[in-house]
Amino acid sequence: MCLGIPGEVVEFLPDQPDLARVDVSGVRRVINVGLLADDLPELGEWVLIHVGFALSKIDESEAAAALQFLEGIGQAYADELAALAESRIE
């Protein structure tokens, strides 16, 4: 369960409203976006792809927030390490 890969929506198929072409690192496939019919992705938005269907949109602001949190922890850690290193030079 659960191989879901993020892909960017790069094209909608003109006569097939529930299909879209997504791009994953330069590799493209047509997938079904019917499960997102209430809030269809736009060109350039990212979706989670599983067995040829888009299951969910990827919320870029949440992704950024997650990374920022991780970065914060990383920075605090780096600061501590630096403080530790400095405190030894006495």
């Binding site: 369960m1 879901g4 690192s25 990212w46 067995v51 922890i73 990383g74 605090a76 850690y77």
Partner: protein, 377 residues
Amino acid sequence: MRFVDEFRDADKAHALAARITELCEPGRQYKFMEVCGGHTHTIYKHGLEDYLPEAITLVHGPGCPVCVIPMGRVDDAIHLASQPDTIMTSFGDMMRVPGSQGSFFDAKAAGTDIRMVYSPLDSLKIARKNPDKRVVFMAIGFETTTPSTAMTLLRARAEGLENFSVFCNHVTIIPAIKAILDSPDLRLDGFIGPGHVSTVIGCRPYEFIAAGYGKPVVVAGFEPLDILQSIYMLMVQLSEGRCEVENQYTRVVPWDGNLAALTAINQVMELRPYFEWRGLGFITHSAMRLREEYRAFDAEVLFNVPGVRVADPKACQCGEVLKGVLKPWECKVFGTACTPETPIGTCMVSPEGACAAYYNYGRMNRRRVVEVEVGRP
């Protein structure tokens, strides 16, 4: 790769690991279960356990939809595939799973037309291209995959396809988690929740775990940093005396799930009264079947499915591994009589089975301290 590589960053991992270690109470052991087989796979594939302090153990759960398929159902599928003028389509995951007379791969070698597909929609394509054959799709998966089968059936009906059917083996995650919680063999401190199942069912269904059983749950993404952050969030909850359901995978999982997906499932399928899970026995309301209105697409109605129940080989301890009671290497036949080349059970042959993950990726001794059983009320 965007939204992937950033969450595999080693530097951030070190920082998180340090934080996690800080939160460990001296002398206390922690056991978290990752429910989803996909998480088990990620943990081993990236060597995530290297970052965890000795005090934290990860226990592998039953969230592997291939692992829980009883041998009898595999036999049934092969029986279907062997009917005249029939093409069976299946995900790659199922190809090597052993039934009592061999796997899909073995059946294919003996002349049965079994084809691998990436999507159930590809099965529809095959059905359209082969109007004189009956095309059956072997549907497996938890709620992550069920909507895709449902959408495919809706489309098949809309197109009036007459030669397409589904052999439905979709299962649901909550009963599996309940079976774990109700098992006397296991004492867990918290759950790493299945991220992709949750895109469909949302986070509410896990509330009973925190409220009723007193175990915190963090719904986690599938990159190694996601899992590590989820462990961090569990440790924070424990240290703060909280017990809640939290969502780590906010970039993908909506708290309320995907209504369109749930609607599609509901339109086409209903819960079976009971279903046999390999290793866990019969569980009520734990699996899906096609509704009466869709019987024209139900392989179990269209074909004569033998439905023979096949007992697991006595030596097979998949059940205990699935429940997290045994680690893969503690199974008596692990790695000797049961290997990826000669699998006795599903845990060894599913791409996200715990035994396969340990054998293929983790088969090395990461010195563990002696496990101390701490008395907990």
